[in-house]
C-alpha cells in the first residue's frame, strides 16, 4: 500500500515535470511561423481592410467609410470583368471536368497498352509555367497557327482568335482546359484506385456492361471528387490573371478583362490603392463563400 502511494506520487511528479518541460515547447515551435504569419499575412490583411475604407489625400490615409465600396457598386467595368470570368467558368469548368472524367476512365482501363506512358503525357501540361504556356498558345492561336489549320480541315474559315470578343473568351477557355485537364485527370485516377474492384466484379455478374458500370459505379463514386474539383476550379477561375494578361491584355473591348487583371491595373498602373483594396475584398468575399461551400462538401463526402 505504502509502496503503491509512493509509486503513484512519483508518477505524478514525473508527469508534472514532463508537462512543465513541455510548457514552452509548443510556443517555441510556433513562434517562427507566427512571426512571419503576423507580419506578412495578418497585418497586411487588416491594413488592406483599413485602406479599403479610406482614401489617400495629400499623402495621408483619410477614413471614408464605405465610399470605395459604393463606388465599386456602380463601377460597370468591374461587374463586366466579373461577368467575364463567370461566363468563362460556367462553360469551361464543366467541359474540362467531363473531359477529365472520360480520360481518367480510359487511362485507368486495363485494356489500354502503355498506360503509364499515356498517363505521363496527360501530366506534362501541369509542369509548364503559366506564362510560357500562354505564350505558346498566343502562337498556336495565330491566324496561320495550328488551331486554325485543324479547323480548316473541317472547312472552318480562319478565326482571329484574339481580336474578336467571343473568340477571345473561347481562346482563354481552350488554354485553360489544356493546362488543367491533366491535373484533374491525375486526381481522378487517384480516386479510381480507391474504388474496390469487387464492386465491378459484382456488377458484371449482374450483367452490367462497361458503359453501364461507368455511369452507375465509377461516376457516383467519383462524385465527391468532381464536386470538389469544380469548386477549386471555380475559385481558380475567379482569380484568373496570367492567361488574359499575356494573351489579350483583357481585350478586345474588355471581353477578357478579369477582376484580378482589373485590380492590377487599378492598383499598379493608376495607383488607386484604396479602390483596389475594395476590389480585392469583394473578390475575397465571393471566394470565401465558395471556400466555405468547399469545406462543407468535403465534410459531407466520405471519400477522404
Amino acid at each position: 500500500m505504502a509502496i503503491d502511494t509512493s509509486h503513484s506520487t512519483r508518477l505524478r511528479m514525473e508527469k508534472e515535470f514532463k508537462q512543465k518541460r513541455w510548457l514552452a515547447a509548443p510556443y517555441l515551435f510556433l513562434l517562427p511561423f507566427l512571426i512571419v504569419f503576423t507580419i506578412f499575412l495578418v497585418g497586411p490583411i487588416l491594413y488592406a481592410a483599413w485602406v479599403s475604407l479610406s482614401s489617400w489625400q495629400g499623402g495621408a490615409l483619410v477614413f471614408r467609410g464605405l465610399f470605395q465600396y459604393q463606388k465599386l457598386f456602380s463601377d460597370t467595368e468591374f461587374w463586366h470583368a466579373l461577368l467575364n470570368v463567370v461566363v468563362i467558368l460556367v462553360i469551361q469548368v464543366p467541359v474540362m471536368l467531363i473531359l477529365a472524367a472520360i480520360f481518367a476512365s480510359l487511362l485507368n482501363s486495363r485494356r489500354l497498352k502503355f498506360r503509364a506512358f499515356f498517363q505521363l503525357g496527360f501530366f506534362v501540361p501541369i509542369l509548364i509555367d503559366m506564362v510560357a504556356y500562354s505564350l505558346i498558345f498566343s502562337f498556336l492561336l495565330e491566324k496561320h497557327g495550328i488551331i486554325n489549320h485543324i479547323l480548316g480541315i473541317f472547312g472552318v474559315a480562319p478565326i482571329d482568335w484574339l481580336l474578336h470578343p467571343v473568340a477571345a473568351k473561347v481562346a482563354i477557355m481552350i488554354a485553360l482546359t489544356w493546362h488543367w485537364t491533366g491535373y484533374n485527370v491525375v486526381i481522378l485516377l487517384g480516386g479510381m484506385q480507391s474504388i474496390p474492384h469487387e464492386v465491378y466484379e459484382a456488377s458484371r455478374v449482374d450483367g452490367a456492361g462497361s458503359i453501364r458500370q461507368w455511369w452507375s459505379i465509377t461516376i457516383p463514386m467519383l462524385l465527391p471528387i468532381l464536386v470538389f474539383e469544380s469548386v477549386l476550379s471555380t475559385i481558380g477561375t475567379l482569380q484568373l490573371f496570367v492567361e488574359p494578361f499575356i494573351l489579350t491584355s483583357g481585350g478586345p473591348d474588355n471581353a477578357t478583362m478579369t477582376p484580378v487583371l482589373y485590380l492590377y491595373q487599378v492598383a499598379f498602373q493608376q495607383f488607386h490603392f484604396g479602390y483596389a483594396s475594395a476590389v480585392a475584398f469583394v473578390l475575397a468575399i465571393l471566394i470565401g463563400i465558395l471556400s466555405l461551400l468547399q469545406f462543407r462538401v468535403a465534410r459531407g463526402g466520405d471519400a477522404w
Binding site: V36, V42, L106, L127, D129
Partner: protein, 276 residues
C-alpha cells in the same frame, strides 16, 4: 470478339488523341525554338528540328531588355530558399498544433484556417506598401519574405502529424531527449514523404508566380522567370518567335528535370494539395 477489338481500337484512338493534344503544345515550343520567325509563321507546321537554334540563342544572349539566364538563376534561388524555410516553418507549426495541448491552440488554429480562405490578391497593395517602407522593392527579399508564410503547409503538416505514434515520442522523452531534438532527429526524418510533397507544391507555386513579382520587380536584373518571359515579347519591336520559344523552353527544362527525378513525389504532392 470483333466488337471487343473495335472497342479496344476506339479506346486507344481516343487516348492517343488526348495524349497528342496534351503534349503537342510543349513539343511545338521545343521545336519552334530551333526555327526562325519566318519558318514559324510560314504556316507549313514544320514538326522537326530546324536550323535556327544557334541564331535564336545568340539573339537571347544579346537581348539587352531581358536576361533569361539570370532570370532562371533568380527564380531558382528564390524558389529553393523560400521553399526550404517555408517547409520548416510549416512543419514546426503543424507539429505544435498536432502534438501539444496548449492555451489558445484552438483559437490560433482557427485564425490560421480563416486566413487560408482569403485570396492572395488582398495582400498585394499592403505588401507593396510594406516592401517600399522596408526598401525591399526590386530585391529577392520582397518575394521571399511573403512566401515564407505557407498556411496550407501548416494545415497539411498538422494532418500528417496527427497520425504520428505518440509512444515513439514518449520513448524518446524517457531516454532524456529534449523536445527540440525529438523533433529534428526523430520526427522530421520520418515525415520525409509529406515534407517533399509540400516542398514540391511550394516550389511550383514560387516558380510560376507572376503577379507579385511583376508588382515588386522593375529592373530586368532582378526578374524571375515568369516576369522575364512576360516582358520578353513586349520588349521586341519585331517579334522573334523562335527566341521567345527558346526562352520558354529554357524556363521549362528545370521543372521537367525536377519532375523526372521526383515523379512519385509530384503526384503525391498534387494529391496532397488537393485533399485539403
Amino acid at each position: 470478339m470483333i466488337r471487343r477489338m473495335f472497342a479496344d481500337l476506339f479506346l486507344h484512338a481516343v487516348v492517343i488523341l488526348g495524349f497528342i493534344a496534351s503534349v503537342y503544345p510543349i513539343y511545338w515550343m521545343f521545336i519552334s525554338s530551333t526555327h526562325s520567325t519566318e519558318q514559324i509563321l510560314s504556316g507549313d507546321h514544320n514538326l522537326w528540328i530546324g536550323s535556327a537554334l544557334a541564331a535564336n540563342f545568340q539573339a537571347l544572349i544579346h537581348n539587352t531588355d531581358v536576361n533569361i539566364f539570370q532570370a532562371i538563376g533568380n527564380s531558382l534561388f528564390i524558389a529553393v530558399f523560400s521553399t526550404a524555410i517555408a517547409v520548416v516553418l510549416s512543419a514546426m507549426a503543424g507539429y505544435a498544433f498536432a502534438i501539444y495541448r496548449f492555451r489558445a491552440s484552438r483559437t490560433l488554429f482557427i485564425v490560421i484556417m480563416i486566413s487560408l480562405m482569403i485570396p492572395s490578391q488582398v495582400t498585394l497593395v499592403p505588401l507593396f506598401i510594406l516592401m517600399s517602407h522596408l526598401h525591399l522593392i526590386n530585391t529577392w527579399w520582397a518575394i521571399i519574405l511573403p512566401a515564407l508564410v505557407n498556411v496550407f503547409g501548416v494545415f497539411l503538416m498538422r494532418q500528417a502529424f496527427a497520425g504520428f505514434p505518440g509512444e515513439l515520442l514518449d520513448a524518446a522523452r524517457i531516454d532524456g531527449l529534449s523536445e527540440g531534438r525529438i523533433f529534428w532527429q526523430i520526427v522530421m526524418p520520418l515525415m520525409r514523404p509529406t515534407l517533399s510533397a509540400l516542398a514540391i507544391i511550394a516550389f511550383l507555386a514560387s516558380w510560376t508566380n507572376l503577379l507579385w513579382p511583376l508588382v515588386v520587380l522593375n529592373t530586368s536584373s532582378a526578374y524571375t522567370i515568369p516576369v522575364a518571359l512576360s516582358t520578353l515579347e513586349n520588349s521586341m519591336t519585331i517579334p522573334n518567335y523562335g527566341e521567345v520559344m527558346l526562352a520558354a523552353s529554357l524556363a521549362t527544362v528545370p521543372m521537367l528535370v525536377l519532375f523526372l527525378f521526383l515523379r512519385r513525389n509530384f503526384v503525391s504532392g498534387i494529391m496532397a494539395g488537393f485533399n485539403r
